[in-house]
């Protein structure tokens, strides 16, 4: 067996564990979910899981990395040949949909609850967030240049508040059973625009 398929298979196994753990953490919570449950959900032996991850915290770290990679993909550089506000609208609509997907929101809130009390998870989330903030900062800077915004508001404040808005949409989708993402879309876009030019 050469290295290539082994690596691909290992990567696939790793993904399989993260998928299974995501389901278990969302369903039972980080502390409620055991490696035994995760291994059952992943159809793998616990030994196999420990081959890839030292412990549950490392699995959470893997989940956070995967989420961050997904957000960073959505944050690719803005196309130069298109109205900047059209791209803002498109990406904001996409982010609204992603952040309020039930399988995302529940898992993310579980990760954040653990972030507030666990230094290892805090480090993983903090590192991922640093990269996301860097990518968003670059985009916000580009958007403000393109729109000719004249204001000396620190970019870091703009980025923090725009991220807060989309964070909060996840919470609201969990809190309000009647949450209706279609109904709020226009207001989310107005708010996003106002923050970007603040």
């Amino acid at each position: 067996m050469d290295d290539e398929p082994r690596t691909a298979r290992a990567r696939q196994r790793r993904e399989q564990i993260l998928d299974a753990a995501s389901i278990c953490f969302a369903r039972y919570g980080f502390h409620g979910a055991s490696v035994a449950q995760i291994s059952k959900q992943a159809c793998m032996s616990p030994g196999h899981i420990y081959h890839f991850f030292d412990n549950k915290e490392a699995i959470v770290g893997g989940i956070v990395e995967r989420m961050a990679a997904r957000w960073l993909e959505l944050l690719e550089p803005y196309p130069q040949d298109r109205e900047v506000l059209d791209t803002v609208t498109e990406r904001a609509t996409h982010a609204l949909a992603e952040r309020t997907r039930p399988d995302f929101a529940g898992l993310w809130l579980e990760v954040l609850a653990e972030t507030a009390r666990n230094a290892t998870v805090q480090r993983a989330v903090g590192n991922a967030d640093e990269r996301i903030r860097a990518a968003v900062t670059e985009q916000v800077s580009f958007i403000r240049d393109m729109l000719g915004v004249q204001s000396d508001t620190p970019l870091s404040a703009i980025v923090e508040v725009v991220l807060a808005l989309y964070e909060g949409l996840s919470n609201r989708s969990v809190i309000n059973p009647a949450f209706d993402r279609g109904q709020i879309r226009e207001v989310v876009l107005s708010a996003t625009h106002a923050i970007l030019i603040a």
Copy 2:
């Protein structure tokens, strides 16, 4: 012993349990915290705790009720004899501070993680949120009238997005170790204003 002090004492004991449980849930998570730990933290016997609350879910319900009562206090009717935007600024600043208090944010994220998977907690949070939404809707309606806003955006969408922004500030205060509420205040105010007049 007449009824009055007994009721006051019972109320005080109940508060004492909610305080202790808030500390334990924030520290160990809802599933990680036991009634034994809560009773130790509250300096009460487990029997005493079960006298007031049937189980941990009922304690979470009590915590959510108490948080809601606190938010509703902050949502008292707007004074008529004052510039409406001054009151918006004052309350937004207050909400920013409250939502990003470390002891609040961690506990609230733990409650939300449980909300996403537990129908009993979902009901408690949903009921509290319904009352908060009603109060915020009344205020948003008043503010828009005072500012002469001409727009047929549904009030429920405005309310949902303004709540999302403040929800998200809690998340951000947990995610970013360098979160600086003073630095973002002006942008939060701009965003709040933009949402209110959307």
